[in-house]
Symmetry: C2
Subunit: 481 residues, 2 copies
């Protein structure tokens, strides 16, 4: 496989999405398979993307008053069972530790699929009065959900990395007000860094997180027409605080249960981002997240070699003050091989620099997203590279937004909905009355599901595509990953 | 327990070290017990220390050419068994996943106690030629070692956080040369950030890492006279590359096995640091790692309240541009209560600011390490706070270094060694011939062990304290945590 990974792409995005996606991830050396079924390896280029996402997101969390912490990866079985719906939702996917060394454990331990239960048991000791809140905690950690469906690196992995935010408030109003804050951060991170558009909305009851009262999500669209859920935020009400006795004395001296939210962004986003932007040449990574933003490739012949390399090093030094850059001065490869390799790996911008460029004090910039080339003066190089990186970042978001818009449809009947989903998929806006039975019917008939219900809709006339009752607002519907 | 944690310290460092240490950690809200036996919770003040350590260490790793990555937490049993000594060393402490959902797993999975085996199986696919190396990988992750000894937060925890570096080289010379690089980073991090002195040296054969050819460590000394191992670096030679067939084509076209090293720094260091610096008032945290470096406490009466608070906010804004600061403007607590709370929590510097200070355009700085107070002009506040923080950082290292020197002894006979270790402990330099049998004898007679053997010793005349043979160099010996 490693040999194969050193060759170029053979699958086409438009022909065989699954095979193409796997080739991009493996051949660009972003991820690798592991000896553990369903678990992946983040290679340095892939982990660097996550580090860049973490750094920016974490800085926004901290500005907003969130504090990081770390809780054990293990959850004793009796704790996981404390919130009935929660355990129902997760038990089928839990990996259990039953032995340590040569001993059988007295109580088996779940590997955290999410940390509500182990956190709230402890946090209940930290909360006494309304003054102890808001308490907004976050962990950057690894979680395990032993899914039995076909695993795919990033998109469905039995172990994944994420942020899990857990916040506690003294009133429902304060708890609810956190939604805009957190979903705003997730929107800026997905749109601004990952160049990923999406639809924000509220999940239907049947798709709400196990143990929560309401779930809000950003839903993305994959190039194969399937929707996929992005980051989410859950209003837990007092469900967990009642189960874990998180009680505080309010301003009036009365005992109250805390109001809680949870929120998460996972490494799945990296897969969505790569799937959306990459092409038949390989990975395309948005400049703000790329491990290497700009690669300088000297083009030399025997007589010019020393001078061109010396000059290229100077260019690189200038660029490295502002960007994450790499000078590819490997001797044994032709410039053409290097172009292919860095295109495959998704470096956003390439600087070509040869003897003629040196003479004319210029360099050639080649964009990964469009293949567009232009000459710039060496004196302006840093500025021009900065401009191109910004343009590429913007272009990726614009291109992805256009694709999302193009693949968003309206359906006015169940037949129309079925027709659209059977021909290419996408997101379909349908009037739906909100009843479980109608949702179930749509699901059965189309193989899709309610993705979420956009907020701030202006009620308009419309009838539920299933039962025909008045349904003044629409839901986003689609086949989902 | 939470109620107790809100009260001040009662145990004394000099009287009951274990109880005192636990009180510091819990009452300063740095860590908490968890519902999982032997696993701890990193509260925000504790996790912030780790984030600060990570940030600085990671930046040094990256400058040195190390790349971060992430491998699965699970290791299939057959992989763990591939290197015979390695599995022998770790098997007694491995936590095993045997079930997922309702299914029994076909092959049980170890939770990584360390990642050599799962990494090298995969990395062997990434290495073809000498050009693919050096490959220097690192993970910041969680590992589990199910120790059956008494757990203590940070110092001995069944799950802990660490960096695990794994590097591959084409020659033994290059591999060996990495030691100074990595141990240099660890020395700067422990001394410069944690203000923790230590003795660097090579481990004896019996204390070498399971699967390695040689281990180098930094050894610290706890206030109770026990030594404790800090960060380490292992030369693995070709042990793992032979077991995992990490083969490459060298410059001459011949197949060779790669040369490997591994290296780690764990969250145990946080515990050592707190144990060494803290005192009977609570935690003392070195300024470079403290979550809050400076706390401003306004001292108000009814008439001055508004004006003093407004001015204190301005002071805080100035300080927050350069330091991690907090304005404690809580209404319900007296200044005295606040002083005690922030001393307990280990904030290095306190700024007191009252109506008279406002009038005289001054503020009072109070150092956590010495209790020393001084008045400074408000106009100079930022500079003076910076100076005090530097002074505190230096003072903590100086104080700890003096304590280490004071508790380092020379012993010229086994009786002398026994005598020193039975009265207060410490690090004892003894001439030892290097033979396993003599090491074992010292261990049996004293309950201590060879900590490490300092490098760059000038050979001097000396006889092994056990067998009396020539032993021109000394070993650091001590009871160890």
């Amino acid at each position: 496989m490693s040999k194969a990974s050193q060759e170029g792409m053979t699958a086409k995005k438009g022909e065989n999405f699954d095979e193409w996606y796997t080739q991009v991830i493996l051949k660009a050396e972003i991820a690798d398979y592991s000896p553990v079924s369903g678990c992946m390896v983040f290679r340095p280029a892939g982990y660097a993307i996550w580090e860049n996402i973490q750094r920016e997101t974490d800085s926004e969390f901290k500005k907003s008053g969130v504090k990081n912490c770390y809780f054990p990866i293990f959850i004793p079985e009796r704790l996981l069972e404390k919130e009935a719906k929660h355990v129902q939702g997760f038990a089928p996917e839990v990996a259990w530790v039953t032995r340590a060394g040569n001993s059988e454990l007295e109580e088996k331990l779940a590997i955290r699929p999410t940390s509500e239960t182990v956190m709230y048991e402890v946090v209940s000791r930290w909360i006494r009065s309304w003054r102890d809140m808001p308490l907004r905690l976050n962990q950057w950690n690894n979680v395990v959900r032993w899914e039995f469906r076909h695993p795919t690196p990033f998109l469905r992995s039995r172990e994944f990395l994420w942020n899990e935010g857990h916040s506690l408030f003294a009133t429902r109003e304060e708890a609810d007000a956190e939604r805009e804050d957190i979903m705003g951060i997730y929107k800026r991170v997905t749109e601004g860094l990952m160049a990923l558009p999406g639809y924000m909305g509220k999940k239907s009851k049947s798709e709400t997180f196990a143990g929560a009262e309401a779930t809000y999500s950003i839903e993305h669209l994959l190039p194969d027409g399937k929707a996929i859920q992005g980051p989410d935020w859950h209003s837990d009400g007092q469900n967990f605080s009642k189960a874990f006795e998180i009680v505080f004395v309010d301003k009036d001296g009365n005992n109250q249960f805390a109001w809680q939210n949870t929120w998460a962004l996972t490494t799945r986003e990296i897969g969505v981002m790569l799937a959306v932007h990459s092409d038949d040449k390989g990975a395309v990574v948005p400049p703000k997240l790329a491990q290497i933003q700009v690669v300088v490739i000297p083009i030399v012949n025997d007589e010019s070699k020393r001078a061109v390399l010396a000059e290229a090093k100077k260019l690189m030094a200038k660029l490295n003050g502002k960007f994450r850059g790499l000078l590819d001065d490997r001797d044994q490869l032709t410039p053409g091989r290097k172009f292919n390799e860095w295109e495959l790996k998704g470096v956003p911008l390439r600087v070509e620099f040869g003897p003629r460029d040196m003479k004319e004090k210029q360099a050639v910039l080649v964009r990964r997203d469009t293949g567009g080339k232009r000459k710039v003066k060496v004196a302006d190089l840093v500025d021009e590279v900065g401009k191109d990186l910004d343009t590429i970042q913007d272009n990726l978001f614009r291109r992805a937004s256009e694709a999302l818009t193009k693949n968003t449809h309206d359906a006015w009947s169940l037949d129309e909905l079925k027709g659209i989903l059977s021909k290419g998929g996408g997101v379909v806006r349908v009037h739906w009355c909100g009843e479980d039975a109608c949702e179930e019917k749509m699901r059965e008939e189309t193989g899709g599901k309610v993705l979420n219900i956009p907020l701030d809709q202006k009620p308009a006339s419309g009838k539920c595509v299933v039962c025909g009752k008045d349904a003044p607002t629409v839901a986003n519907f689609g086949r989902s990953y």
